[in-house]
Symmetry: C2
Subunit: 343 residues, 2 copies
Amino acid sequence: MAKKVTIHDIARELQVNAATVSRALNDHPAISARTKEAVRKVARRLHYQPNSIAASLRSGRSRILGVLIPSAEITFFGSVVHGIERVAAAEGYTVLIYQTNESEEGERKGVETFLRSRVDGVLASIAKGTRDLAHLQDLKRRGVPLVLFDRVSAEAGVPSVSINDSAAAFMATEHLLQQGYRRIAYISGPLHVPIWKERLKGHRKALKKYGLPADRALLREGDVSIGSGAACMEALLRLPEPPDAVCCVEDYTALGALQALRRAGIAVPGQVGIIGFANELFGQYIEPALSTIDQQTIRMGEEAARLFFELSAGKFYGSAPRHIVLEPQLIIRQSSVKIHTAS
Amino acid sequence: MAKKVTIHDIARELQVNAATVSRALNDHPAISARTKEAVRKVARRLHYQPNSIAASLRSGRSRILGVLIPSAEITFFGSVVHGIERVAAAEGYTVLIYQTNESEEGERKGVETFLRSRVDGVLASIAKGTRDLAHLQDLKRRGVPLVLFDRVSAEAGVPSVSINDSAAAFMATEHLLQQGYRRIAYISGPLHVPIWKERLKGHRKALKKYGLPADRALLREGDVSIGSGAACMEALLRLPEPPDAVCCVEDYTALGALQALRRAGIAVPGQVGIIGFANELFGQYIEPALSTIDQQTIRMGEEAARLFFELSAGKFYGSAPRHIVLEPQLIIRQSSVKIHTAS
DNA sequence: ATGAAAGCGCTAACAC
DNA sequence: GTGTTAGCGCTTTCAT
């Protein structure tokens, strides 16, 4: 273990004060160009590596942004993180990711880790398993800016970026209706999670607009996994009056449903239409290609990061938090297209 | 911004020394149960949050493991991280992820960030764009344990976990040969990356075993993206003697190739067989389901984390680094099955 | 079982 | 333009 070199080593070498070295390294305006040059040269020669732990302890700022995501195995989040990174990098910030594994426990540990590491802010997407938001309030109480994205919560009282989930589900459902499907099932995620509650609302609104009843039997509450999607679909198929279309709350759910339909020998989109949600990469490559909703991932990440910088610049502390709502985009592929217009 | 509460606040409240509080909080054996109890109670009441920055500065240990992954959008890495987390958590360590976006530049920044944050170790999978490993050597030189996984490099001289890439490609190719395919193309990733070079070796070995020549025209060096897979496949189809099977270095590459084949109206696996690599989630849901190679992701993560703990326990510093090689598993689905045995 | 004191490496307020 | 000084909040000898 090589002895760590500090600014004092550089200072000694150059016969100057450690503070001078610190300033030179940080490009402080009051330091002469010659000194800066000399300091940098010695620093390089000695393989000096700044200790941001010490710097953070002293300055109270780490220039690190913590991002809490439910799972690194979902492309969607990786994509949002890209957006966050782009904006963060431009401001000289680094992004660190913690995956909560969809549990409240994991989320608490993530917050704890970030708090201990004294990140300058936290951007989070709430885990499926989270019911109590106390740990998020903790961040607020400690003055760590918090911004929520995608899986947001108005209760939290912090800025957020999300898509218009209700509108998205409305679009998806209306699209199925316009294709002539009439008995539309809905496979949701846990309804205690706001975004899934919102989406259900949009779905129902579309049904209502077309004068259709909200048949309780056609609503399934899954856990947004492939397996759960398949199980829900199977249950739906056992119904006395099975659905002729299904609106899924997630692409993976749709994948499971599709699998169940295939096993049952049901033609998609001929007999049953299906639409997903999230525009995951695989959707355009499966057979039939999955219609879905695009959630503007990069944009979402960028906006979330921007909200953080606004927050930390103190631009709207105290006033009501901003909620940015992005407009979703309907992506029509094959799985939901019954009507062939032209050819 | 609530005033931060420190161990001194707790100490004052209880009329004891800060050192006592520190010990109590860390469950030091020499502290009486009564004192510990009292300290914990006050800590809770004051919402005390330990400042690990200060602790790290003093102790020189952060109990944080940095993980460098090329991209958070690849399921494979998310899965490996799960394995890492499991082992790390058991040792009281936290995992922080940095995505390098497949570039050497990103990788350098990640190393820099981890170095500054004084993580206790780094687990890394080398980016596609990385040619110079100097930044990784830096970690070693500074005494930060480094373990490589998946995209490893023997040159780095550090412990690693990978799968037997050569054997994997051999299995994939042999499987195609056993299915009766004879003109087998190979879509590789950049050949300066060791794992892809290794895989190519395995592929050639299989060809050789079956007495087939390594036709240069059948080898394409793509960049492991869907688009590149499609482009390579198109080029292959334009050959005077197009291939009757294609072995891809990655599932996403295979996806692109599949797309190109579909556009060209070629039946898979009837006319052309195809096999991928990585066992990405989507593979079993596309049509035809993609044959592939499983890479033991969770296991890989666990082993990598274990290697780190061995390293930091000083078990084999100085001696030659251990390289764990996991055995891959051939997963036969539809895309490569020409021969229908039974039914 | 607890206290006293020193210091990890850096930055920032105040000198000059 | 640079030096001095005083910590940031914690851990860790060494005492007692």
